[in-house]
């Protein structure tokens, strides 16, 4: 309890962290602490603050003044805060930092691409250093395991396209062009793009998590000291597995997408499978090639971004989580950008 009496603040009872909030704010002229019960460091901190502000403290018991002394000794003197920068300079500095970190990010991506290519060339010159088992394992992880989800997704995309296309095209009596619609959109764009996005979500996160947790536990440093090259052991098999499997997944996606489209066209428009195939034969191959050519490039992008993010993981678990989500977002974004560049390129070339 605290009460004002004759211009002095009279403290009675306990002065502890729980009662600190009941004290009057502001500076007291004189403090009478004779009736004080329990005093803890929070109370001592309050009394020291008052004493430094010029208050006079009377009636402290021996024990309490000892505590006051030891708290006063421990109290830190704050470092002078640096003078705040003017607003425009902070803004400029912030923009500059972001630009530089963006450029550094691209430089590092180029570095990891280079490291992958160097490792690949080394593996070609010295095939004995290449880890085939690891490659097969990662092909299974990124390729085989992704087949069901890719197939179901593409099948449904084909179904949806046929269904939506048929209702639109029927108005013009041009139902048979639904085959062209499905073939062009699935083979050229959607099949491979959606597959790449799914793989980016599945595999880029897995790459970052697996390499990142090894980085966190210093396994990668241990590898280096044992004479193993992390580029050969970790990056090469993972990225190469992606480059091998993504075109295959793209092909699976193309086939199941067309299958879904064909089934829906049969049900909805009565276009028989043989008619669908005959119409498809005229246009399919060129579009399928244009679509699948993109696959290895997407694979490279996903692999390099995933491995780079894994290597950037720090010592704490938090950075592992944040780098994993960054890797997925960056990989998906980069795949879509690359797809846009491809479509510009193909239209300029006239494919």
């Amino acid at each position: 309890m605290a009460e004002q009496r004759d211009g002095a603040l009279v403290l009675t009872g306990d002065l502890v962290v729980w009662t600190l909030a009941q004290l009057p704010g502001g500076r007291a002229g004189r403090i009478d602490a004779a009736g004080l019960g329990r005093l803890d460091t929070a109370g001592a901190w309050f009394l020291i603050g008052q004493r430094e502000a010029g208050a006079e403290i009377a009636g402290l018991s021996e024990r309490h003044s000892q505590l006051l002394d030891s708290v006063a000794r421990a109290m830190a003197s704050p470092d002078p805060a640096p003078a705040p920068l003017p607003g425009w300079r902070r803004l400029l500095e912030d923009v500059g930092r972001r630009v530089v970190s963006g450029l550094i990010f691209f430089r590092e991506l180029a570095e990891y691409l280079g490291r992958f290519i160097a490792a690949l060339l080394r593996a070609i010159r010295h095939p004995a250093d290449f880890r085939l088992t690891s490659l097969v394992h990662h092909c299974q992880e990124t390729g085989l395991r992704a087949v069901p989800i890719v197939a179901i997704m593409s099948f449904l995309i084909g179904v949806v396209l046929a269904f939506q296309g048929s209702t639109q095209l029927r108005q013009f009596g041009a139902e048979v062009f639904v085959v062209d619609l499905i073939a062009i959109s699935v083979l050229r764009e959607l099949g491979i793009l959606l597959t790449a996005i799914i793989v980016a979500g599945r595999t880029a996160s897995a790459l970052t998590a697996s390499i990142g947790s090894m980085k966190m536990r210093e396994e990668i440093d241990a590898m280096r000291t044992l004479g193993m090259d992390p580029d050969m052991v970790l990056i090469l098999p993972r990225v190469l597995a992606l480059i091998v499997t993504l075109p295959i997944l793209g092909l699976v996606s193309d086939v199941t997408g067309l299958l879904g489209g064909a089934i829906m066209s049969w049900i909805e428009l009565g276009i028989s499978p043989s008619m669908f195939l005959a119409r498809l034969g005229d246009i399919a191959v060129g579009h399928a090639v244009v679509g699948l050519v993109k696959a290895p490039v997407f694979a490279l992008i996903i692999g390099v971004i995933g491995c780079h993010a894994g290597m950037k993981v720090g010592k704490d678990a938090e950075s592992l989580g944040s780098m994993t989500s960054t890797a997925v977002v960056n990989a998906i974004f980069a795949v879509i950008i690359a797809d846009a560049l491809f479509s510009i390129f193909f239209s300029v070339v006239g494919l």
């Binding site: 600190l20 803890d40 929070a42 901190w45 505590l67 109290m75 704050p78 704490d316």
Partner: protein
């Protein structure tokens, strides 16, 4: 510290088990007000398990644990919170919240205090950080930027935030260099003297036992085998205790202890 000081912790007949694996069976232990009790034992004898049982992180299979005279197993709701506010726990690696700065970490328990203003809370947190022996600039750092020793100190600062009467320390000097460990030992003793803390200290470090502990409790054979001062421990003729306190490391610790006594005397 009078010898008939009240017991702040009383463990009676404690039995803890995980499945069929019995860790403690019929364990009794007292911690007196104002003393530093060192708990030692081989790996896997359940030192940390004992600590976790006392603070209520593990539920014992049998037995009672009384802290400040209250059976903590039977408490719930506000009564339990009231007891929890009177102790602080420092985990092995500090167990700091990684998304908060050191000062914000220490502020977390202070947020439970009703009516405490932002300024007061910050000031108190900075005081606790300084009392734990951290430099001023550590306040704004994140746990990932700190060394192991600094993280332990920050964990101690958080354990001390509400001025507890009992502090539980889980291997406070493990993984510290000898200089840092010695400084930490001194810090514990000086805080005990200044705040009249009772300290429950789990350790492997013989130097810490020599430098800090008023009493030592040896955990073996699923119970507290013996308790007593360092000199009493040296008399015990149980093979493990003898090996522990008379091994080559123990002798080295005694020598440095005597040297330190000479320096101070």
């Amino acid at each position: 510290m009078s010898s008939e000081a009240e017991n702040v912790i009383e463990v009676r007949g404690l039995r803890t088990q995980f499945g069929s694996h019995v860790v403690h069976d019929g364990l009794d232990l007292d911690v007196k007000r104002g003393e530093i009790l060192g708990v030692v034992g081989g790996s896997g004898t359940g030192k940390s398990v004992l600590l976790r049982s006392i603070v209520g992180l593990l539920k014992p299979a049998a037995g009672t644990i009384r802290v400040f005279g209250q059976d903590v197993g039977a408490l719930s709701g506000p009564a339990r919170e009231a007891v929890e506010r009177r102790w602080g726990v420092m985990f092995q690696d500090g167990a700091l919240f990684s998304s908060l700065t050191v000062r914000e970490n220490v502020e977390v328990p202070l947020r439970a205090v009703p009516g405490l203003g932002d300024q007061q809370r910050q000031g108190l947190a900075e005081l606790k950080v300084a009392m734990a022996g951290l430099p001023w600039n550590a306040n704004a750092k994140f746990p990932s930027d700190l060394s192991g020793g600094m993280r332990k100190r920050a964990g101690l600062a958080r354990a001390l935030a509400l001025d507890p009467e009992i502090v539980f320390l889980d291997e406070p000097t493990a993984g510290l260099d000898p200089i840092g460990a010695t400084a930490f030992d001194r810090l514990i003793v000086s805080l005990r003297d200044a705040l009249n803390l009772s300290v429950f200290l789990v350790t492997h470090d013989l130097d810490t036992l020599h430098a800090c502990c008023d009493r030592i409790a040896v955990l073996a054979e699923k119970k507290v085998l013996t308790t007593g001062t360092m000199s009493q421990m040296l008399q015990v003729d149980h093979p493990w205790v003898h090996e522990y306190f008379h091994g080559p490391r123990a002798r080295a610790a005694q020598v440095t202890d005597r040297a330190a006594d000479r320096d101070e005397g």
